[in-house]
Protein backbone atom coordinates (compact mmCIF):
# COMPACT_ATOMS: atom_id res chain seq x y z
CA UNK A 1 0.00 0.00 0.00
CA UNK A 2 3.01 2.28 0.14
CA UNK A 3 2.34 3.71 -3.32
CA UNK A 4 -0.86 5.33 -2.27
CA UNK A 5 0.88 7.65 0.19
CA UNK A 6 1.63 9.82 -2.80
CA UNK A 7 -2.10 10.51 -3.07
CA UNK A 8 -2.05 12.31 0.29
CA UNK A 9 -0.78 15.90 0.15
CA UNK A 10 -0.47 15.95 3.95
CA UNK A 11 2.44 13.55 3.76
CA UNK A 12 4.44 16.01 1.67
CA UNK A 13 4.19 18.34 4.66
CA UNK A 14 7.54 19.86 5.38
CA UNK A 15 8.64 18.40 8.69
CA UNK A 16 11.09 20.19 10.93
CA UNK A 17 13.78 17.53 10.95
CA UNK A 18 14.92 14.77 8.67
CA UNK A 19 12.25 12.23 9.57
CA UNK A 20 8.74 12.92 8.34
CA UNK A 21 5.87 13.16 10.80
CA UNK A 22 4.12 9.87 11.56
CA UNK A 23 0.39 10.56 11.65
CA UNK A 24 -1.07 7.95 14.01
CA UNK A 25 -4.36 9.65 14.86
CA UNK A 26 -6.59 8.43 12.05
CA UNK A 27 -9.17 7.08 14.48
CA UNK A 28 -9.81 10.71 15.40
CA UNK A 29 -9.76 12.03 11.84
CA UNK A 30 -8.20 10.72 8.65
CA UNK A 31 -6.09 12.50 6.09
CA UNK A 32 -7.66 12.92 2.65
CA UNK A 33 -6.35 11.92 -0.75
CA UNK A 34 -6.05 14.38 -3.60
CA UNK A 35 -8.84 12.53 -5.40
CA UNK A 36 -11.33 13.44 -2.69
CA UNK A 37 -10.15 17.05 -2.49
CA UNK A 38 -10.31 17.34 -6.27
CA UNK A 39 -13.80 15.89 -6.46
CA UNK A 40 -15.14 18.47 -4.03
CA UNK A 41 -13.36 21.31 -5.78
CA UNK A 42 -14.56 20.15 -9.17
CA UNK A 43 -18.13 20.22 -7.89
CA UNK A 44 -17.67 23.67 -6.36
CA UNK A 45 -16.04 25.19 -9.41
CA UNK A 46 -18.19 23.67 -12.10
CA UNK A 47 -21.43 22.23 -10.77
CA UNK A 48 -22.42 24.22 -7.70
CA UNK A 49 -26.15 24.89 -7.65
CA UNK A 50 -28.98 24.24 -5.21
CA UNK A 51 -30.47 20.73 -5.15
CA UNK A 52 -34.06 19.53 -5.34
CA UNK A 53 -35.46 23.03 -5.85
CA UNK A 54 -36.05 24.94 -9.03
CA UNK A 55 -36.40 24.02 -12.66
CA UNK A 56 -32.99 24.77 -14.13
CA UNK A 57 -30.67 22.27 -15.76
CA UNK A 58 -27.96 23.32 -13.29
CA UNK A 59 -30.20 22.34 -10.38
CA UNK A 60 -31.02 19.07 -12.12
CA UNK A 61 -27.35 18.27 -12.58
CA UNK A 62 -26.43 19.20 -9.03
CA UNK A 63 -29.33 17.14 -7.71
CA UNK A 64 -28.21 14.14 -9.73
CA UNK A 65 -24.65 14.39 -8.37
CA UNK A 66 -26.02 14.69 -4.83
CA UNK A 67 -28.35 11.72 -5.08
CA UNK A 68 -25.77 9.63 -6.93
CA UNK A 69 -23.47 10.22 -3.97
CA UNK A 70 -26.15 8.86 -1.69
CA UNK A 71 -26.53 5.80 -3.90
CA UNK A 72 -22.77 5.21 -3.82
CA UNK A 73 -22.61 5.38 -0.05
CA UNK A 74 -25.72 3.22 0.24
CA UNK A 75 -24.21 0.49 -1.90
CA UNK A 76 -20.95 0.70 0.09
CA UNK A 77 -22.69 -0.20 3.36
CA UNK A 78 -25.36 -2.56 2.05
CA UNK A 79 -28.25 -0.15 2.28
CA UNK A 80 -31.05 1.13 0.09
CA UNK A 81 -30.91 4.75 -1.01
CA UNK A 82 -33.86 5.66 1.17
CA UNK A 83 -31.98 4.21 4.14
CA UNK A 84 -29.14 6.74 4.02
CA UNK A 85 -29.63 10.12 5.68
CA UNK A 86 -26.98 12.85 5.60
CA UNK A 87 -26.18 14.32 8.99
CA UNK A 88 -23.54 16.67 10.39
CA UNK A 89 -21.44 13.84 11.81
CA UNK A 90 -21.92 10.45 13.45
CA UNK A 91 -22.84 12.07 16.75
CA UNK A 92 -25.64 13.90 14.99
CA UNK A 93 -26.79 10.62 13.45
CA UNK A 94 -27.10 8.91 16.83
CA UNK A 95 -28.92 11.96 18.21
CA UNK A 96 -31.28 11.82 15.24
CA UNK A 97 -32.38 8.41 16.50
CA UNK A 98 -32.48 9.18 20.23
CA UNK A 99 -34.24 12.53 19.74
CA UNK A 100 -36.68 11.03 17.24
CA UNK A 101 -37.56 8.29 19.71
CA UNK A 102 -38.02 10.91 22.44
CA UNK A 103 -40.42 12.78 20.14
CA UNK A 104 -42.26 9.55 19.29
CA UNK A 105 -42.56 8.84 23.02
CA UNK A 106 -44.06 12.31 23.53
CA UNK A 107 -46.71 11.58 20.92
CA UNK A 108 -45.19 13.48 18.01
CA UNK A 109 -45.29 11.54 14.78
CA UNK A 110 -48.70 10.17 15.69
CA UNK A 111 -49.84 6.58 15.55
CA UNK A 112 -47.29 5.48 12.97
CA UNK A 113 -44.40 6.46 15.27
CA UNK A 114 -45.88 4.68 18.27
CA UNK A 115 -43.95 1.49 17.63
CA UNK A 116 -40.76 3.43 18.38
CA UNK A 117 -41.99 5.04 21.59
CA UNK A 118 -40.49 4.24 25.00
CA UNK A 119 -42.41 4.09 28.24
CA UNK A 120 -41.28 4.48 31.84
CA UNK A 121 -39.57 1.29 32.89
CA UNK A 122 -38.45 0.35 29.39
CA UNK A 123 -34.74 -0.32 29.14
CA UNK A 124 -31.88 0.83 26.95
CA UNK A 125 -28.73 -1.31 27.05
CA UNK A 126 -25.28 0.04 26.23
CA UNK A 127 -21.77 -0.93 27.32
CA UNK A 128 -19.31 0.77 29.61
CA UNK A 129 -16.91 1.06 26.68
CA UNK A 130 -19.11 3.37 24.59
CA UNK A 131 -17.94 6.66 23.16
CA UNK A 132 -19.77 9.59 24.78
CA UNK A 133 -21.61 9.99 21.48
CA UNK A 134 -23.23 6.60 22.06
CA UNK A 135 -23.84 7.22 25.75
CA UNK A 136 -25.06 10.74 26.52
CA UNK A 137 -27.86 10.74 23.91
CA UNK A 138 -29.25 7.61 25.60
CA UNK A 139 -28.94 9.20 29.04
CA UNK A 140 -31.00 12.11 27.74
CA UNK A 141 -33.55 9.78 26.16
CA UNK A 142 -33.86 7.90 29.44
CA UNK A 143 -34.31 11.16 31.32
CA UNK A 144 -37.04 12.29 28.94
CA UNK A 145 -39.02 9.05 28.85
CA UNK A 146 -38.46 7.46 32.23
CA UNK A 147 -36.64 4.55 30.60
CA UNK A 148 -33.70 2.97 32.41
CA UNK A 149 -30.18 2.92 31.04
CA UNK A 150 -28.28 -0.31 31.75
CA UNK A 151 -24.58 -0.73 30.99
CA UNK A 152 -22.69 -3.95 30.33
CA UNK A 153 -19.48 -3.73 32.38
CA UNK A 154 -15.96 -4.19 31.05
CA UNK A 155 -13.15 -6.33 32.44
CA UNK A 156 -9.64 -5.22 33.37
CA UNK A 157 -8.71 -4.97 29.69
CA UNK A 158 -11.70 -2.81 28.85
CA UNK A 159 -13.55 -5.65 27.14
CA UNK A 160 -17.18 -6.72 27.53
CA UNK A 161 -18.57 -10.15 26.83
CA UNK A 162 -21.62 -11.21 24.92
CA UNK A 163 -22.72 -13.29 27.92
CA UNK A 164 -22.76 -10.22 30.10
CA UNK A 165 -24.70 -8.39 27.43
CA UNK A 166 -27.21 -11.24 27.24
CA UNK A 167 -27.62 -11.03 31.02
CA UNK A 168 -28.52 -7.33 30.82
CA UNK A 169 -31.31 -7.94 28.32
CA UNK A 170 -34.82 -8.42 29.54
CA UNK A 171 -38.46 -8.15 28.56
CA UNK A 172 -38.36 -4.40 28.86
CA UNK A 173 -35.27 -3.96 26.68
CA UNK A 174 -36.23 -1.78 23.74
CA UNK A 175 -32.88 -0.52 22.47
CA UNK A 176 -29.38 -1.99 22.41
CA UNK A 177 -26.70 0.51 21.36
CA UNK A 178 -23.11 -0.64 20.93
CA UNK A 179 -20.01 0.21 18.92
CA UNK A 180 -19.01 -2.27 16.27
CA UNK A 181 -15.38 -1.37 16.99
CA UNK A 182 -14.33 0.36 20.21
CA UNK A 183 -12.29 3.50 19.61
CA UNK A 184 -10.18 2.74 22.70
CA UNK A 185 -9.77 -1.01 22.89
CA UNK A 186 -10.03 -1.88 19.21
CA UNK A 187 -12.42 -4.65 20.25
CA UNK A 188 -14.59 -6.10 17.48
CA UNK A 189 -18.08 -6.58 18.84
CA UNK A 190 -19.92 -9.81 17.95
CA UNK A 191 -22.61 -7.86 16.11
CA UNK A 192 -24.43 -10.89 14.75
CA UNK A 193 -24.93 -12.20 18.29
CA UNK A 194 -25.96 -8.80 19.57
CA UNK A 195 -28.56 -8.53 16.83
CA UNK A 196 -30.03 -11.95 17.39
CA UNK A 197 -30.16 -11.55 21.17
CA UNK A 198 -31.72 -8.10 20.89
CA UNK A 199 -34.23 -9.03 18.22
CA UNK A 200 -35.26 -12.08 20.24
CA UNK A 201 -36.30 -9.61 22.95
CA UNK A 202 -38.01 -7.34 20.45
CA UNK A 203 -35.34 -4.68 20.98
CA UNK A 204 -33.83 -2.56 18.26
CA UNK A 205 -30.09 -2.39 17.60
CA UNK A 206 -28.29 0.91 17.09
CA UNK A 207 -24.75 0.38 15.83
CA UNK A 208 -22.03 2.95 16.31
CA UNK A 209 -20.09 2.13 13.17
CA UNK A 210 -17.64 5.06 13.33
CA UNK A 211 -14.56 2.89 13.66
CA UNK A 212 -15.72 0.04 11.43
CA UNK A 213 -17.16 1.47 8.20
CA UNK A 214 -13.89 3.29 7.32
CA UNK A 215 -11.80 0.17 7.86
CA UNK A 216 -13.61 -3.05 6.94
CA UNK A 217 -16.36 -4.39 4.68
CA UNK A 218 -19.84 -3.42 5.89
CA UNK A 219 -23.28 -4.73 5.02
CA UNK A 220 -25.86 -3.25 7.37
CA UNK A 221 -28.67 -5.03 5.53
CA UNK A 222 -27.06 -8.43 6.03
CA UNK A 223 -26.15 -7.63 9.63
CA UNK A 224 -29.74 -6.84 10.38
CA UNK A 225 -29.05 -3.80 12.54
CA UNK A 226 -31.89 -1.31 12.78
CA UNK A 227 -29.90 1.92 12.84
CA UNK A 228 -26.22 2.74 12.36
CA UNK A 229 -24.05 5.84 12.36
CA UNK A 230 -20.71 6.83 10.86
CA UNK A 231 -18.78 9.95 9.81
CA UNK A 232 -17.19 11.13 6.58
CA UNK A 233 -14.01 12.55 8.10
CA UNK A 234 -12.79 9.20 9.45
CA UNK A 235 -13.05 7.51 6.02
CA UNK A 236 -10.84 9.82 3.94
CA UNK A 237 -13.84 12.05 3.31
CA UNK A 238 -14.73 15.56 4.43
CA UNK A 239 -15.69 17.05 7.77
CA UNK A 240 -19.21 18.32 8.05
CA UNK A 241 -20.95 15.16 6.89
CA UNK A 242 -22.08 12.03 8.65
CA UNK A 243 -24.49 9.26 7.83
CA UNK A 244 -27.48 7.80 9.60
CA UNK A 245 -28.46 4.38 8.34
CA UNK A 246 -31.89 3.09 9.26
CA UNK A 247 -34.17 0.41 7.95
CA UNK A 248 -36.59 2.07 5.57
CA UNK A 249 -39.74 1.19 7.48
CA UNK A 250 -38.27 2.66 10.66
CA UNK A 251 -36.95 5.83 9.07
CA UNK A 252 -40.29 6.48 7.40
CA UNK A 253 -41.96 6.78 10.81
CA UNK A 254 -39.18 8.15 13.02
CA UNK A 255 -40.09 11.77 13.80
CA UNK A 256 -37.49 14.20 12.43
CA UNK A 257 -35.45 15.73 15.25
CA UNK A 258 -34.66 18.87 13.26
CA UNK A 259 -37.31 20.57 11.18
CA UNK A 260 -37.27 23.18 8.46
CA UNK A 261 -37.24 23.57 4.71
CA UNK A 262 -37.01 20.65 2.27
CA UNK A 263 -38.38 18.11 4.74
CA UNK A 264 -42.04 18.70 4.18
CA UNK A 265 -44.97 18.31 1.82
CA UNK A 266 -47.59 20.78 2.96
CA UNK A 267 -47.00 23.48 5.53
CA UNK A 268 -49.61 25.77 7.04
CA UNK A 269 -49.14 28.21 9.86
CA UNK A 270 -50.37 25.52 12.25
CA UNK A 271 -48.96 22.26 10.94
CA UNK A 272 -46.41 20.57 8.73
CA UNK A 273 -46.49 17.17 7.06
CA UNK A 274 -43.18 15.43 6.56
CA UNK A 275 -41.77 13.66 3.53
CA UNK A 276 -40.70 10.01 3.76
CA UNK A 277 -37.07 9.13 4.42
CA UNK A 278 -34.42 10.34 3.76
CA UNK A 279 -35.66 13.85 3.00
CA UNK A 280 -37.79 14.15 6.15
CA UNK A 281 -34.55 14.36 8.15
CA UNK A 282 -32.53 16.65 5.91
CA UNK A 283 -33.65 20.06 7.09
CA UNK A 284 -32.16 23.07 5.40
CA UNK A 285 -29.36 23.25 2.91
CA UNK A 286 -27.46 20.00 2.90
CA UNK A 287 -23.70 19.32 2.79
CA UNK A 288 -23.82 18.79 -0.95
CA UNK A 289 -20.16 19.27 -1.85
CA UNK A 290 -19.28 17.06 1.10
CA UNK A 291 -21.61 14.31 -0.11
CA UNK A 292 -19.98 14.42 -3.54
CA UNK A 293 -16.53 14.20 -1.93
CA UNK A 294 -17.60 11.40 0.40
CA UNK A 295 -18.75 9.35 -2.58
CA UNK A 296 -15.29 9.85 -4.06
CA UNK A 297 -13.73 8.64 -0.79
CA UNK A 298 -15.89 5.53 -1.04
CA UNK A 299 -14.67 4.89 -4.57
CA UNK A 300 -11.09 5.39 -3.41
CA UNK A 301 -11.51 2.88 -0.57
CA UNK A 302 -13.28 0.41 -2.83
CA UNK A 303 -10.52 0.59 -5.40
CA UNK A 304 -8.10 -0.59 -2.73
CA UNK A 305 -10.60 -3.07 -1.38
CA UNK A 306 -12.05 -3.13 2.11
CA UNK A 307 -10.74 -6.63 2.77
CA UNK A 308 -7.22 -5.54 1.90
CA UNK A 309 -7.56 -2.48 4.14
CA UNK A 310 -8.80 -4.55 7.08
CA UNK A 311 -5.90 -6.98 6.62
CA UNK A 312 -3.34 -4.18 6.36
CA UNK A 313 -4.56 -2.53 9.53
CA UNK A 314 -4.85 -5.69 11.54
CA UNK A 315 -1.23 -6.48 10.66
CA UNK A 316 -0.21 -3.02 11.86
CA UNK A 317 -2.17 -3.50 15.08
CA UNK A 318 -0.48 -6.85 15.67
CA UNK A 319 2.88 -5.23 15.10
CA UNK A 320 2.18 -2.54 17.68
CA UNK A 321 0.77 -5.02 20.21
CA UNK A 322 3.80 -7.25 19.84
CA UNK A 323 6.24 -4.38 20.10
CA UNK A 324 4.55 -2.74 23.06
CA UNK A 325 4.06 -5.95 25.01
CA UNK A 326 7.85 -6.23 25.26
CA UNK A 327 8.12 -2.82 26.94
CA UNK A 328 8.32 -2.76 30.74
CA UNK A 329 5.74 -0.54 32.44
CA UNK A 330 3.56 -0.11 29.36
CA UNK A 331 0.11 -1.64 29.55
CA UNK A 332 -1.99 -2.40 26.48
CA UNK A 333 -5.70 -1.59 26.73
CA UNK A 334 -7.88 -4.13 24.93
CA UNK A 335 -7.00 -7.47 23.38
CA UNK A 336 -3.40 -8.63 23.83
CA UNK A 337 -0.97 -10.49 21.60
CA UNK A 338 -2.53 -12.86 19.10
CA UNK A 339 -6.10 -11.65 19.43
CA UNK A 340 -7.84 -10.09 16.41
CA UNK A 341 -8.47 -6.36 16.83
CA UNK A 342 -8.92 -3.20 14.83
CA UNK A 343 -6.00 -1.02 13.70
CA UNK A 344 -5.83 1.07 16.82
CA UNK A 345 -3.97 0.45 20.06
CA UNK A 346 -4.23 2.47 23.27
CA UNK A 347 -1.67 2.10 26.02
CA UNK A 348 -1.14 3.32 29.54
CA UNK A 349 2.39 4.05 30.72
CA UNK A 350 2.99 3.40 34.42
CA UNK A 351 3.96 6.56 36.25
CA UNK A 352 3.70 8.86 33.26
CA UNK A 353 0.57 10.80 32.42
CA UNK A 354 -0.77 10.37 28.88
CA UNK A 355 -0.35 14.07 28.13
CA UNK A 356 3.34 13.78 28.90
CA UNK A 357 3.60 10.66 26.79
CA UNK A 358 1.91 12.47 23.92
CA UNK A 359 4.24 15.44 24.26
CA UNK A 360 7.26 13.18 24.23
CA UNK A 361 6.05 11.36 21.13
CA UNK A 362 5.16 14.64 19.41
CA UNK A 363 8.72 15.81 19.86
CA UNK A 364 9.80 12.60 18.14
CA UNK A 365 7.53 13.50 15.18
CA UNK A 366 4.80 11.03 16.09
CA UNK A 367 1.25 12.34 16.31
CA UNK A 368 -0.97 10.22 18.55
CA UNK A 369 -4.10 10.90 20.56
CA UNK A 370 -3.86 11.33 24.30
CA UNK A 371 -6.78 11.81 26.66
CA UNK A 372 -9.93 9.91 27.52
CA UNK A 373 -10.92 9.55 23.86
CA UNK A 374 -14.49 10.53 24.77
CA UNK A 375 -14.76 7.38 26.87
CA UNK A 376 -14.53 8.51 30.48
CA UNK A 377 -16.49 5.60 31.98
CA UNK A 378 -14.18 3.10 30.29
CA UNK A 379 -11.07 4.84 31.56
CA UNK A 380 -12.56 5.10 35.03
CA UNK A 381 -13.26 1.36 34.96
CA UNK A 382 -9.59 0.80 34.14
CA UNK A 383 -8.53 3.08 36.97
CA UNK A 384 -6.90 5.67 34.73
CA UNK A 385 -7.93 9.13 33.57
CA UNK A 386 -6.28 9.09 30.18
CA UNK A 387 -4.40 6.89 27.73
CA UNK A 388 -2.24 7.18 24.63
CA UNK A 389 -3.65 5.84 21.37
CA UNK A 390 -1.98 5.10 18.05
CA UNK A 391 -4.34 4.41 15.16
CA UNK A 392 -3.85 3.49 11.53
CA UNK A 393 -5.51 3.86 8.17
CA UNK A 394 -4.75 2.69 4.64
CA UNK A 395 -1.73 4.97 4.39
CA UNK A 396 -0.03 3.96 7.63
CA UNK A 397 3.30 2.15 7.30
CA UNK A 398 5.25 -0.43 9.28
CA UNK A 399 7.94 2.16 9.74
CA UNK A 400 5.54 4.57 11.39
CA UNK A 401 4.27 2.08 13.92
CA UNK A 402 7.83 0.91 14.62
CA UNK A 403 8.81 4.48 15.39
CA UNK A 404 5.87 4.68 17.78
CA UNK A 405 7.00 1.57 19.64
CA UNK A 406 10.63 2.70 19.72
CA UNK A 407 9.78 6.13 21.07
CA UNK A 408 7.44 4.62 23.64
CA UNK A 409 10.41 2.65 24.93
CA UNK A 410 12.11 5.89 25.98
CA UNK A 411 9.21 7.57 27.79
CA UNK A 412 9.67 6.24 31.29
CA UNK A 413 13.39 6.94 31.23
CA UNK A 414 12.85 10.54 30.23
CA UNK A 415 10.34 11.17 32.96
CA UNK A 416 12.55 9.42 35.50
CA UNK A 417 10.20 6.62 36.46
CA UNK A 418 12.66 3.87 35.49
CA UNK A 419 16.35 3.51 34.97
CA UNK A 420 16.11 3.30 31.22
CA UNK A 421 18.07 6.08 29.49
CA UNK A 422 16.15 8.80 27.68
CA UNK A 423 15.72 7.90 24.03
CA UNK A 424 17.93 9.55 21.46
CA UNK A 425 14.94 11.24 19.85
CA UNK A 426 14.93 14.03 22.41
CA UNK A 427 16.42 17.30 21.26
Amino acid sequence: MSDLRRDFPAFDRASGGSTPTAYLDSAATSQRPRQVLDAEREYLEHHLAPVHRGASAAVGHSTTLFEDARATVARFVGAGEREIVWTENATDAINMVSLGIADASAGLGGASARSLALEPGDEIVITEAEHHANLIPWQRLAAKTGARLRAVRVDGHGLWSIDDLAAELGDRTRIVAVAEVSNVTGYLAPVADVVSLAHARGARVVLDACQSVPHRPTDFGAMGVDFAAFSGHKMLGPNGIGVLYGREELLDVLPPARTGGSTITRVTLETAEFLPSPHRFEAGTQPVSQAVALAEAVRYLEAIGMDAIARHESELAARIVEGVSALPGVRIIGPGVGVERAGLVAVSVDGVHAHDVGQFLDEAGIIVRVGHHCAQPLHRALGITASTRASAHVYTTDDEVDRFVDALAGVRGFFGVSDAPAAAVIA
Binding site: G54, V59, G60, I264, T265
Partner: protein, 154 residues
Protein backbone atom coordinates in the same frame (compact mmCIF):
# COMPACT_ATOMS: atom_id res chain seq x y z
CA UNK B 1 -36.38 18.97 -31.55
CA UNK B 2 -34.12 20.61 -29.08
CA UNK B 3 -34.39 23.21 -26.37
CA UNK B 4 -37.63 24.70 -25.20
CA UNK B 5 -39.63 23.69 -28.25
CA UNK B 6 -38.68 20.06 -27.61
CA UNK B 7 -40.02 20.33 -24.10
CA UNK B 8 -43.03 22.49 -24.73
CA UNK B 9 -44.34 20.93 -27.91
CA UNK B 10 -47.44 22.57 -29.32
CA UNK B 11 -49.51 19.56 -28.31
CA UNK B 12 -48.40 19.99 -24.71
CA UNK B 13 -49.30 23.65 -24.56
CA UNK B 14 -52.65 22.79 -26.16
CA UNK B 15 -53.33 20.04 -23.63
CA UNK B 16 -52.39 22.36 -20.77
CA UNK B 17 -55.03 24.77 -21.95
CA UNK B 18 -57.59 22.07 -22.77
CA UNK B 19 -57.39 20.34 -19.34
CA UNK B 20 -59.33 17.25 -20.43
CA UNK B 21 -60.83 15.48 -17.44
CA UNK B 22 -60.63 18.53 -15.20
CA UNK B 23 -63.52 18.48 -12.77
CA UNK B 24 -65.18 16.70 -9.88
CA UNK B 25 -66.40 13.10 -9.86
CA UNK B 26 -69.17 11.81 -7.63
CA UNK B 27 -69.32 8.23 -6.44
CA UNK B 28 -65.64 7.61 -7.12
CA UNK B 29 -64.24 4.14 -6.35
CA UNK B 30 -60.89 5.64 -5.54
CA UNK B 31 -59.44 9.04 -4.93
CA UNK B 32 -55.83 10.04 -4.48
CA UNK B 33 -54.18 13.33 -3.74
CA UNK B 34 -50.63 14.01 -4.96
CA UNK B 35 -48.46 16.87 -3.85
CA UNK B 36 -45.21 18.05 -5.40
CA UNK B 37 -43.22 19.42 -2.48
CA UNK B 38 -40.82 21.24 -4.78
CA UNK B 39 -43.33 23.74 -6.04
CA UNK B 40 -46.42 23.12 -3.98
CA UNK B 41 -48.39 21.83 -6.95
CA UNK B 42 -51.25 19.50 -6.18
CA UNK B 43 -53.65 17.23 -7.97
CA UNK B 44 -56.53 15.04 -6.89
CA UNK B 45 -57.39 12.11 -9.13
CA UNK B 46 -60.70 10.28 -8.93
CA UNK B 47 -61.83 7.20 -10.83
CA UNK B 48 -64.89 5.04 -11.16
CA UNK B 49 -64.44 1.46 -12.40
CA UNK B 50 -67.01 -0.52 -14.27
CA UNK B 51 -68.89 -3.33 -12.53
CA UNK B 52 -66.27 -5.95 -13.32
CA UNK B 53 -63.62 -3.69 -11.83
CA UNK B 54 -61.51 -4.34 -14.89
CA UNK B 55 -62.10 -1.10 -16.74
CA UNK B 56 -61.88 2.60 -15.90
CA UNK B 57 -65.36 3.85 -16.54
CA UNK B 58 -64.76 7.44 -15.54
CA UNK B 59 -61.76 9.52 -14.61
CA UNK B 60 -61.56 13.11 -13.40
CA UNK B 61 -58.97 15.28 -11.76
CA UNK B 62 -58.69 18.64 -10.10
CA UNK B 63 -55.50 20.48 -9.54
CA UNK B 64 -53.19 23.33 -10.01
CA UNK B 65 -49.75 23.22 -11.48
CA UNK B 66 -47.37 23.99 -14.28
CA UNK B 67 -48.15 23.42 -17.93
CA UNK B 68 -46.28 20.11 -17.93
CA UNK B 69 -48.27 18.65 -15.05
CA UNK B 70 -51.57 19.96 -16.31
CA UNK B 71 -50.92 18.80 -19.87
CA UNK B 72 -49.86 15.34 -18.76
CA UNK B 73 -52.96 14.95 -16.58
CA UNK B 74 -55.10 16.07 -19.50
CA UNK B 75 -53.38 13.63 -21.87
CA UNK B 76 -53.75 10.85 -19.33
CA UNK B 77 -57.46 11.52 -18.99
CA UNK B 78 -57.87 11.10 -22.74
CA UNK B 79 -55.78 7.94 -22.84
CA UNK B 80 -57.05 6.13 -19.77
CA UNK B 81 -60.78 6.77 -19.74
CA UNK B 82 -62.64 3.67 -20.88
CA UNK B 83 -59.50 1.54 -20.94
CA UNK B 84 -58.82 -1.77 -19.18
CA UNK B 85 -57.06 -1.40 -15.85
CA UNK B 86 -54.32 -3.77 -16.96
CA UNK B 87 -53.66 -1.79 -20.08
CA UNK B 88 -53.56 1.44 -18.10
CA UNK B 89 -51.02 0.01 -15.72
CA UNK B 90 -48.89 -0.93 -18.69
CA UNK B 91 -49.32 2.58 -20.04
CA UNK B 92 -48.20 4.11 -16.73
CA UNK B 93 -45.15 1.81 -16.58
CA UNK B 94 -44.23 2.77 -20.13
CA UNK B 95 -44.69 6.46 -19.42
CA UNK B 96 -42.49 6.25 -16.33
CA UNK B 97 -39.79 4.37 -18.27
CA UNK B 98 -39.85 7.02 -20.99
CA UNK B 99 -39.52 9.83 -18.45
CA UNK B 100 -36.56 8.11 -16.83
CA UNK B 101 -34.78 7.67 -20.15
CA UNK B 102 -32.98 11.04 -19.95
CA UNK B 103 -33.77 11.65 -23.58
CA UNK B 104 -32.36 8.30 -24.71
CA UNK B 105 -34.11 5.73 -26.89
CA UNK B 106 -37.29 5.90 -28.90
CA UNK B 107 -40.57 5.88 -27.00
CA UNK B 108 -43.10 3.21 -27.93
CA UNK B 109 -45.73 5.19 -29.80
CA UNK B 110 -48.11 2.25 -30.03
CA UNK B 111 -48.17 1.91 -26.26
CA UNK B 112 -48.02 5.59 -25.34
CA UNK B 113 -50.04 7.31 -28.04
CA UNK B 114 -50.12 11.09 -27.63
CA UNK B 115 -48.14 10.75 -24.39
CA UNK B 116 -44.94 10.43 -26.44
CA UNK B 117 -45.03 14.22 -26.64
CA UNK B 118 -43.60 14.12 -23.12
CA UNK B 119 -40.42 12.35 -24.25
CA UNK B 120 -38.67 15.72 -24.24
CA UNK B 121 -39.38 16.12 -20.53
CA UNK B 122 -37.08 13.21 -19.75
CA UNK B 123 -34.09 15.43 -20.49
CA UNK B 124 -35.17 17.78 -17.70
CA UNK B 125 -34.71 15.88 -14.40
CA UNK B 126 -36.39 18.61 -12.38
CA UNK B 127 -39.56 18.36 -14.47
CA UNK B 128 -40.03 14.59 -14.44
CA UNK B 129 -42.01 14.86 -11.21
CA UNK B 130 -44.30 17.44 -12.83
CA UNK B 131 -45.07 15.13 -15.74
CA UNK B 132 -45.66 12.17 -13.42
CA UNK B 133 -48.00 14.00 -11.02
CA UNK B 134 -51.33 12.81 -12.44
CA UNK B 135 -49.97 9.43 -13.45
CA UNK B 136 -48.69 8.62 -9.98
CA UNK B 137 -52.05 9.70 -8.60
CA UNK B 138 -53.88 7.39 -11.00
CA UNK B 139 -51.57 4.50 -10.14
CA UNK B 140 -52.40 5.01 -6.46
CA UNK B 141 -56.10 5.07 -7.32
CA UNK B 142 -55.85 1.77 -9.15
CA UNK B 143 -54.10 0.19 -6.18
CA UNK B 144 -56.65 1.65 -3.79
CA UNK B 145 -59.50 0.42 -5.91
CA UNK B 146 -58.11 -3.03 -5.28
CA UNK B 147 -57.63 -3.96 -8.87
CA UNK B 148 -55.18 -6.82 -9.37
CA UNK B 149 -51.61 -5.66 -9.53
CA UNK B 150 -50.09 -5.77 -12.94
CA UNK B 151 -47.47 -8.53 -13.18
CA UNK B 152 -44.80 -6.33 -14.76
CA UNK B 153 -44.15 -4.69 -11.45
CA UNK B 154 -41.72 -1.92 -10.73
Amino acid sequence: MSGLSGLYQEIILDQARARHGDGPLDHADAEHHEFNPTCGDELTMRIRLDDSHARIAELAWQGDGCSISMASASTLAELATGRDVDEVRELIDGFRAMLRSQGQGEPDEELLGDAIAFHGVSKYVMRVKCAMLGWVALEACLTEAGSPTHPAVE
